[in-house]
Symmetry: C2
Subunit: 297 residues, 2 copies
């Protein structure tokens, strides 16, 4: 058995304009690096090692704590836009000219704004369990969801099993396997998100969801190819938001998975990874279907 | 250059209970055969050779005219249910115990009912540009669409370019490539759908779309894994119907493609085929994501 790169990669630090960013970087230095942007309440340890290990075979993976999160210093801002600026400054600080971004939940909101503001920097987007700014007008999170994010137990099962997975036996079993993966690291673990950051992030989430409806016009400006992914019943950012994100992005494909929730990619790791590899590595080289190939007749 | 199997396969005939079915069968006799069910106004020549050739590398492909269509004899029925029964009798008549079905548009409606009525016969479903029974309650076809199906020109461009493709330059170019593929066959071509069949099929389409709303309860009975595919703006069976089909089928994945219409799989042939091969051949063997693989730590 080979060791998990994601579980064993040491945490590194990068100082940018007064903020010290904690990150982990591993994989094969080839092609375009893939930067992951994290969900609310998540730190470096909450990225699924099975997903990042599988994708690391074909590229470098960069996981990081945004400003004010986990072992990064700085103050968490109260808007998604400011988080996107922090993330872009971190990517710039690494000296990377072009990256792909895989953003989950709030990380997907951040990824949208980096792609919008920095078309030179972002080549392709994978947007998982997320939605457009102003999505609240379409489908509001149920009131019982927010308290799930306050549950605290040692492994995180009380918080993440109901948030990321469907209630079915199969999905919950996949959830427990996910928990075992994200808790496998014993050394060099990250530290929990602070109460101050939680407050700031809740403000940012509210601001994003409740932005004035503008028919999602800002999405016209995100020309990068995007793969939009979600589960069948995302209780955090209701699934219909992924449909609308797809409908309003100029070049997006939608992949919605069966019997799953906000963390569908943690449940269908192999299927998700194969699709992402196709999207990042193969599809850009697709040719238009020829008039006749093989030769007609 | 190798010849297109789909374009060169000779038409065969099978007599079942007084109906003579015209069909074409080709590919690699391995695994589960894939039967295509056709859209309104389509005959044997309207299946895209690029799609069926690519899928034929890993299985047998069976294209057929349902009763009353093209070179098949018999009378076209006025309901989707009766068309599904005709199609099942044809598949049974070939002596096949288990098949996968790729149904497009009205062919996808037929495929749903075969899968519902004959769970033993159908292993997996690919449902393209289609929707649930009673879908009219969600999104009605615009009144300018039906007349498109009456356009007649030699190649079929006046009918199929606006129906199957988006208005964009790229999509229309893909549409012309598609037209060149479906018109490449010179010998042994099929014959147009008769006026009598057109009338019957219009009745069937109306009946399907306007069925009493039952919250799509019949879809609970289709347990087979399904891949639901559509374009971003299907003007024939509006795209939101694919979302609802996905939401109500017990085990479905949704794949929606960018800048495309009712024939998105004719536009993104390579991307679509790769996903279908993964769905039919690879995904069934996926294991649940392990607790730790590679070994954690």
């Amino acid at each position: 058995m080979i060791a998990s790169l994601a579980t064993t990669a040491l945490t590194q630090f990068l100082d940018i304009g007064g903020t010290r960013f904690a990150y982990r970087r591993f994989g094969t230095p080839a092609g375009t690096p893939l930067v992951f942007t994290q969900h609310f309440m998540g730190n470096l340890d909450n990225f699924d090692p099975a997903v990042s290990d599988a994708l690391a075979a074909g590229r470098e993976i960069i996981l990081f704590d945004n400003a004010g999160v986990g072992r990064s210093t700085g103050t968490a801002p109260h808007t998604i836009a400011a988080m996107a600026a922090d993330a872009a400054s971190f990517i710039d600080g690494l000296g990377l000219a072009t990256v792909d971004i895989l953003g989950h939940s709030m990380g997907g909101e951040i990824a949208q704004l980096i792609a919008l503001d920095r078309p030179d920097l972002v080549r392709r987007l994978v947007l998982v369990g997320t939605g457009p700014r102003g999505g609240d007008a379409i489908a509001r999170q149920a009131p019982e969801v927010a308290p799930l994010f306050t549950r605290r137990d040692e492994l995180g099962e009380d918080m993440w099993l109901p948030i990321m997975f469907s209630p079915s036996k199969e999905s919950q079993a996949a959830g427990r396997a996910f928990i075992s993966r994200i808790t496998a690291r014993t050394d060099d673990r990250d530290i929990p998100v602070s109460d101050e950051t939680i407050t700031a992030y809740r403000d940012a989430a509210r601001g994003w969801a409740s932005a004035p409806a503008d028919n999602f016009g800002y999405l016209d400006g995100i020309a990068q190819p995007a793969l939009v992914v979600n589960g069948s019943n995302d209780i955090v950012i209701p699934t219909i938001n992924s449909y609308h994100l797809y409908q309003h992005l100029p070049d997006a494909e939608l992949m919605l998975l069966p019997d799953s929730g906000h963390g569908a990619h943690f449940q269908y790791v192999e299927r998700f990874v194969r699709r992402v590899i196709d999207f990042l590595d193969v599809q850009p080289h697709d040719t238009a279907a020829p008039a006749c190939r093989p030769a007609c007749g």
